[in-house]
């Protein structure tokens, strides 16, 4: 059953990719690998295909650029039926990134990136400018142009892989577990950077992964696929997490669905707690005054650039002879406003006072959140959902008998 999220935004967006009753039967196998799959992918969204091993998600994705030819069904790209067109030409319009990256080891980075532009006949100058652009976009220094893949780290190679896929500015990118072969720390960073990139370039992306957490983090919509790529649920991460369609989806999400949902909200969306702040340059009296006027027993001291410096407590601030720069403890539990609640909680658990300091991109102080404020926010989320569900139920009585 195909469920399409029907918010107003998406109804007016263009359908970039349409899959119509796609099936794939591999020779010598009784069961189809993909069975009668239909789905629409809108322009500018990231759709994640996720499911257990062997469910056919990679096969499905590879049918979009016809690396695997469908046994039946049709594929539409930007409204055009591309099921039978020349597949090599088709692929030059689609970016393709795989897990093992597959950079050409005998070519320089620049030549790797220039591959599709060259095939499309771009002139040297245009290609060179594009390479400069892309290197900057993916955060690789221009001095790497003439280096070879073997000189780069795994994370760097992955970025070049993405740059190469975007070189000819294709409207669609297909990514098959692109961050799978990388260590978790680099992967996290690359995912964040990729999301930031997507905010700028707004490409249509089909992303395959087996990791539900990655799907929740990266996807605008997620298609949870069962065996033979049958769609169990195709919706936004929010909706899937709050309202799983059946037991399969529930099992696949696994435990911790509520905590996963926290990764969908950012800390800037919640109210900050009421902690006193002062400056490292203030006098001890001024700091004591601040503390007294609040109900807290610790003050956060900021430096001249408004960046968090140190936490100073009641007893410590009494010692006039100890300069403030050496009193108390340094403030380390810091998150950016764009960080997810999930990450914020993670930081808070090991922090002093169970709190996290929120800063902007420059690192300047915005506010402090603690467990109380986070709990308030999640409670608010729950009640607003229940409200939504009730409204939805009211609207739907009589429909499927739900």
């Amino acid at each position: 059953m195909t469920e399409e999220a029907t918010t107003d935004e998406e109804q007016t967006a263009e359908t970039m990719i349409r899959l119509e009753k796609l099936s794939k039967v591999f020779p010598g196998q009784d069961e189809p690998a993909v069975d009668d799959l239909s789905m629409d992918i809108y322009e500018g969204e990231i759709v994640v295909l996720v499911g257990p091993s062997g469910c056919g998600k990679t096969t499905t994705m590879k049918m979009i650029n016809r690396l695997i030819e469908p046994s039946s069904g049709r594929i539409f790209l930007q409204g055009e039926d591309v099921t039978k067109v020349n597949s090599d030409k088709l692929r030059r319009r689609i970016g393709y990134v795989i897990q093992q990256i597959g950079l050409f080891p005998h070519m320089t980075i620049a030549d790797n990136i220039a591959t599709v532009p060259k095939m499309l006949g771009w002139d040297k100058e245009r290609t060179s400018r594009r390479i400069d652009e892309l290197l900057e976009t993916v955060g690789i220094d221009n001095s790497y142009r003439d280096r070879y893949p073997k000189e780069l780290s795994g994370g760097q190679r992955q970025r070049i892989g993405v740059a190469r896929a975007m070189a000819a500015d294709p409207p669609v990118l297909l990514m098959d577990e692109p961050f799978g072969a990388i260590d978790p720390i680099t992967r996290d960073r690359l995912q964040d950077e990729f999301l930031r990139l997507q905010r700028e370039i707004k490409k249509t992306i089909v992303f395959v992964t087996h990791d539900i957490d990655e799907a929740v983090k990266m996807g605008d919509r997620i298609a949870i696929l069962k065996q033979q790529s049958k769609i169990a649920q195709y919706d936004t991460p929010e909706n899937i997490l709050t309202d799983p369609a059946d037991d399969f989806v529930r099992d696949f999400i696994g435990t911790g669905a509520s905590i996963k949902r926290l990764s969908l909200s950012t800390v800037s969306e919640i109210e900050t707690a009421d902690w006193p702040v002062a400056r490292l340059t203030d006098s001890h009296d001024e700091v004591r005054e601040k503390m007294r006027s609040s109900s807290r027993d610790h003050v956060l001291l900021l430096d001249e650039q408004n960046k968090p410096g140190r936490w100073v407590g009641k007893e410590e601030v009494q010692q006039d002879d100890t300069p403030l720069e050496e009193s108390g403890r340094p403030a380390v539990a810091i998150v950016e406003g764009t960080a997810s609640l999930y990450k914020t909680l993670d930081t808070m658990i090991t922090s002093f006072k169970g709190s996290a300091i929120v800063v902007d991109e420059e690192g300047r102080y915005q506010g402090v959140v603690d467990f109380d404020t986070v709990l308030e926010a999640t409670n608010a989320m729950h009640s607003s959902e229940e409200g939504r569900e009730e409204t939805a139920q009211d609207l739907q009585t009589g429909d499927d008998g739900r």
Binding site: N65, D88, H106, M107, T108, M119, G161, L174
Partner: protein
Amino acid sequence: MGGFLEYLSLNWDHVVELAIGHAIVVAISLAIDVVIGVSLGVLVFRRERAANVALAITSTFLTIPSFALFGIFIPIFGLGYPPTVVALVMYGLLPILRNTVAGLRSVDPAVAESAQGMGMNASQRLLRIELPLAWPVIIAGVRVSTMLLMGIAAIAAIVGGPGLGEDIFSGLARVGSVIALDLVLGGILGIVVLALLFDTFFNVLGKLTTSRGIRD
């Protein structure tokens, strides 16, 4: 030793002439081998059965004694260049074919897949990705063939073919005379020197034509 050097200085032109003839016939046979071997390798490397058949047949060529092969070609091709080149081509084929197949098969599947995923058609993939990556292995095969052909070409003299083998057989015919040993030594050393020259050439050529990105 002194006697040999004297011989050499007196007969330098002759030895060089034979050496050039030897080098040319080997070079021609190598060139044909590279064309046939690499083309055949490209055709069969993806098909295990076909590759096995091709490799088995070419290795049979190497099992048959060279003298017998030269001999059987006389009634068919006559004397001189034709039987020599045909026999040498048959002998030099296996190392090149085998290395072409091995080299092409050793290309990282992820690289091949991403090339296809980017829209390269089969011939673009072959020319821009697979062959360049297999090249170092192919060149190694060419070097092996060169050494083989250098030695075998000496037998060509029996069928009236060119090369330093002529001096070896002359020396054989003149056994007992002073010059016999010189002739034979001249032939052997000439071939060894030629072999070293060719090997160095291919070594350098290999390094120059292999991308820095895949040179170890």
